[in-house]
Amino acid sequence: MTLPDGLVAFVKRDCPTCALVEPVLGELADAGILNAVYTQDDPTFPRGIAALHDDTGLEASWRNGIETVPTILRVEEGREADRIVGWSREQWTAFTSVADLGAGLPEHRPGCGSLSADPDRAAGLEAQYGDGFASRRVEFASAEDPMEAMHDRGWSDGLPLVEPTTERVARMLRGTARDRQDVVAIVPPNLVECTVEKVAVNAVMAGCKPEYLPVVLAAVATACTDAFNMHGLLCTTMSVGPVVLVNGPIRNAIGMNSGVNVLGQGNRANSTIGRALQLVVRNVGGGEPGGIDRSTLGNPGKVGFCFAEDEEGSPWPSFSQSRGFGPRASTVTLFPGESPRIVVDQVSRTPEALAASLGSALIGTNHPRLVMATDAMLVISPEHASRFAAAGWSKERTVSRILEATCQPAEGLWGIAGEGDGAAGDAGPGGVAKFRPDGLHVVHAGGRAGLFSAVIGGWVAGDKGSHTVTKEVSPWA
């Protein structure tokens, strides 16, 4: 769509300023200065203009980035050279070189919002007139139920999906400033380049809102690092999946839950971000249960497992701060985890007793005799954390004492390679610790009441399996 050279106006009848300047537009058209007028809502407005274009479909307005009406463009050789918006006698006079324009009108009136910038319509216009999506369009037959059609194509994890229409995907993409064809990650197991657009399509299906997209993009990128090793996590027979922990200001900006029922249902961001990641692995990477996903038992968190740390209520620096990020940084951390298992301790009154108690509970992850094989995440509830805080224990001291409490006599312990594989050789004076020195990840979250914490067991830790990886979320990039 090419605009004629000269001056071109964009207006809508519903705008009082456009109505105000209607005679001025006529005057400019009569003088042969105004070469076209595009009208957004009423094809008969403004009156008396020969070169009046019906733009009720808003294509010209959208393509020319019109945000305000009236807007006048100066077009030279088919391209915009300059523009003015609203009514200002001084500006219009300078722009048109016609003196005494709009006699009797006020000196200045601001314009109104362009219909093409209306938040309710912008995503639809983007879908309709945008550069287009690289993804193939799939049209369901009129008699097909889209929900059933999506399941039949194998796109679902077993739960209902939101239909990824072009309009919804365009709206999702407004959650990021990144180009939709940017490659976010190489997704296993098929090692496919995954674009921002494909992440957005799956995020729509998972039920995400556009403002979650930066977190989903960061989660996908982090999961697909060599260090996190999503491939191994997917294909292992163990019952693990990607656990996404979110830290920093974006938690609250997108309304995540870090309090009551933090590891449960009921919060849209918590419930859909982890699911979006798993749908990307399934649909883009090709990782399906029974295919490359060989998990013997699986766990309910493999539908999607995402939660936020309660930083505001924590006595300690946040999890991401303990990993070297600043307090204003928003991050995602990917941990290769099982289902949470709750530790009930309503008895311990001192920090020493509670550290010993949590340590003894952690010994049971995977198997009490299996040591130095996996990492673990310990989600400490506010009431449990307050036991340590009241005694002035730092997070480092707390973690160190819990780790000490996981030590067992070397005899009879297993390493990842089985009995007698040398794990016992790492015994310190107190015995063999359950985890590597940096293998216990402590996070503060949960409801205010309840002397419970949660253990999330891991799988093969380190270079042979997965590292826990934290990356910064770029909010709108």
Binding site: F140, N190, V192
Partner: protein, 92 residues
């Protein structure tokens, strides 16, 4: 007209390749044994090597750095160029 959606998949087109023909004889062949680094996989492969060598087969041993990641490209290339066939040990 029905609902139109965007394809959430990688839209891969599957290409089919013929498998290499099975070896008709082991005589004069070089067989690769790939240990994927699962515990005790080497025990299994040691025995296979013993049996193959008894039949006069030349055996080359390879090890993946970890069972949890795909074999590195270089390793796959090495096996493909040096061996007529490969046996991979998956078991714990």
């Amino acid at each position: 007209m029905g609902v139109t959606v965007l394809d959430p998949t990688a839209e891969l087109v599957v290409s089919r390749r013929e498998r290499n023909a099975r070896l008709e004889t082991l005589e004069g062949m070089t067989i690769g044994l790939l240990d994927i680094s699962k515990p005790r996989g080497n025990v299994f492969l040691d025995r296979i090597q013993e049996l193959l060598e008894r039949d006069g087969v030349r055996v080359l041993r390879f090890v993946k750095p970890t069972f949890a990641k795909p074999a590195p490209v270089d390793l796959r290339h090495e096996i493909a160029t040096q061996c007529h066939a490969v046996i991979e040990a998956l078991a714990d």
